[in-house]
């Protein structure tokens, strides 16, 4: 058989190539139909094949991480007495302050409006030039706020969120991307003032636990199931996807979802132990040097 790439005539080369392609496709088709016939009579064969042929993904070939938490009594003891103990043990209601960086633009205000809608018991305060972060933190503590969210912007678009837990809780800074406001989502639903349920996916390491608990502490302790609203924070490959849905059960097996509210993606940039301090020690900071392989994740 002549190698196709040695034929100089374009028409002839094209013809032979199409023939080769067609024969390959036919082979695949025939193999699949025979397999289907065999497996329809013998379902065990199908199960065996599926069990053997698990494809490798970045998530299941993730690099070994010593900080993965699995049923650890020490971690449980640590989390029982950490900064979020007031929320988890005593059921403290969160009170959130949403503000922006100085001199924000319209897109930031629109995003801030969405954030106020997501978190019950949250208040927006316009940022003025008069006060710095450390003053804002002090004022919020005096007024019994439990969290501050600062929306950072660049080139007229929101690009970051700093989440500060009060009184001396951790501070986390996230990169914000892929924002879709409710009005831009097709077929979006209307939110109600019911307290949402919360789903947190895939926060497995110690760092992931801290961030997951930070997010949990933003929502009220007891959801109102009557509202059928759910907020999801799904972590995959260190990107945290936020979605909000209204769900309705058609029967015990099928659920229909309608998307509400904004969609956005967060990526953790750094985590500090106390409240925001530019010169304070960072518990974790993302640096490009940490990306040693495609299979290494931190959350």
């Amino acid at each position: 058989m002549v190698e196709i790439n040695t034929i100089k005539n374009k028409l002839k080369r094209d013809e032979l190539y199409q023939k080769k392609k067609a024969s390959k496709a036919k082979e695949k088709r025939d193999r699949r139909t025979t397999l289907q016939k065999e497996e329809s009579s013998n379902p065990e064969k199908k199960e065996k094949r599926l069990a053997e042929n698990v494809p490798n993904t970045l998530e299941n070939t993730r690099e070994f991480d010593e900080t993965m938490v699995e049923e650890d009594a020490e971690v449980a003891a640590d989390e029982a007495t950490d900064e979020f103990a007031q929320y988890f043990q005593n059921g403290l209601t969160p009170k959130i302050l949403v503000t922006t960086s100085k001199g924000p633009s319209a897109a930031v205000y629109a995003f801030a409006t969405e954030l106020i809608d997501i978190f019950p018991n949250s208040h927006f305060v316009k940022r003025k030039n008069q006060f710095e972060m450390r003053h804002i933190i002090e004022f919020s503590k005096n007024r019994d706020f439990t969290d501050i969210m600062v929306i950072n912007e660049d080139r007229k678009e929101p690009n970051g969120v700093t989440l500060i837990h009060l009184p001396d809780g951790p501070t986390a800074h996230f990169k914000l991307s892929s924002i879709a406001l409710s009005k831009d989502i097709e077929g979006h639903g209307r939110t109600s003032s019911h307290k949402p349920e919360l789903i947190l996916n895939n926060f497995n390491t110690r760092l992931g636990h801290t961030i997951g608990r930070m997010f949990t502490a933003l929502f009220p302790h007891v959801p109102e199931f009557q509202g059928r609203q759910v907020a999801t924070l799904h972590n995959q490959r260190d990107f945290i996807f936020f979605r909000r849905h209204r769900y309705v059960f058609k029967n015990s097996k099928r659920v229909n979802l309608q998307e509400l509210g904004p969609r956005f993606t967060l990526k953790l940039k750094w985590l500090q132990k106390g409240t925001f301090d530019r010169k304070g020690e960072h518990e974790w900071m993302f640096k490009p040097e940490m990306e040693t392989s495609r299979r290494r994740f931190f959350l």
């Binding site: 020490e74 003891a77 040097e289």
Partner: protein, 333 residues
Amino acid sequence: MSSQRFYTGDEQGLIKVVTITEPLVVKVKRVRRNQPTPEAPAKPVPTVETWGTPDRERAVQLLCWDHDKKYLAVARKNGLVQLIDPKENGGTALAEFRHTLGKEGKVDTVFVGLFANSESIITCTNTGVLTVQSIQDATQRKIASVGQDICRMRVHPREHHIVATAGKEQECTLWDLNQIFQDGTDQPQPPTTNGKTTASNGKSVTSTPASKSSGTPQARYKSKEILANGQIFKAKNVKNDHLDLRVPVWNTDLQFLSQYDYSRIAVGTRNHQIRVYDTKSGARRPIVDKEIGDMPVVAFSNGKDASETVFSDTVTNVYSVDTLTGEVLGQYK
């Protein structure tokens, strides 16, 4: 087969002993074509032993070896200072002393210095309370005040009566414990003038304390900053910067560079400056002053000898600095 042992203390009050044993290195034979590749050498497996139960009140603030490297000294958040024998199981304390650490206004009092030798444990808090506690006799405790807002206190590894402190608006100061406690009083005496002589230009120059031998160059202290009782050396702020503004002082950590004498001290500041002082040369200003990195210095350690020091900053960078020139020898990012 070498092994390393690390002792760590955490904010839950647990002390963990991590032993990492290097596995035997098997020399890999040359792989011929079509032969199966040899297995990768075994990775070192750490074993962790935990002492104590989780309790945030017993959070470990400082942990260090004593002078003979036989016992571990631990300073905890509730004021407890313990001496632990690492060979005994469970990390039970051989000796325990309780200090009071209250709150000064809004700031918690924390331990900033810890040192132990066979006779006593020396501790210092950030409010400047320096305590020398005798190990054998629990009642014998000597207390001195070494200033306000101290960020670090260190004791010289060989001369246990020489103590260095530094802090916020507190320049690097060397104290001699024998002098502080020699007349049996707890508080340092108020600064006394001894032999003022007027120099030719009219400024008054005070002579240095008698402890300095006449051979070494004399450091000059202005009348208002005469060395208080017990102080041997007090550094002077660097010259005003290019805008003729006073450079603010906030030393975050310091380290004695040489284990043989206390002449050279390296100091790190909140404005990421590294300074090296020579206490015996008569110069009160640093002999090396460099700005390294962008973020404040958090921790200092000795390098291979007096010419190298290692420090880390708040954003997980570790730098190795040459103390003679101030150049960065290497960096972990």
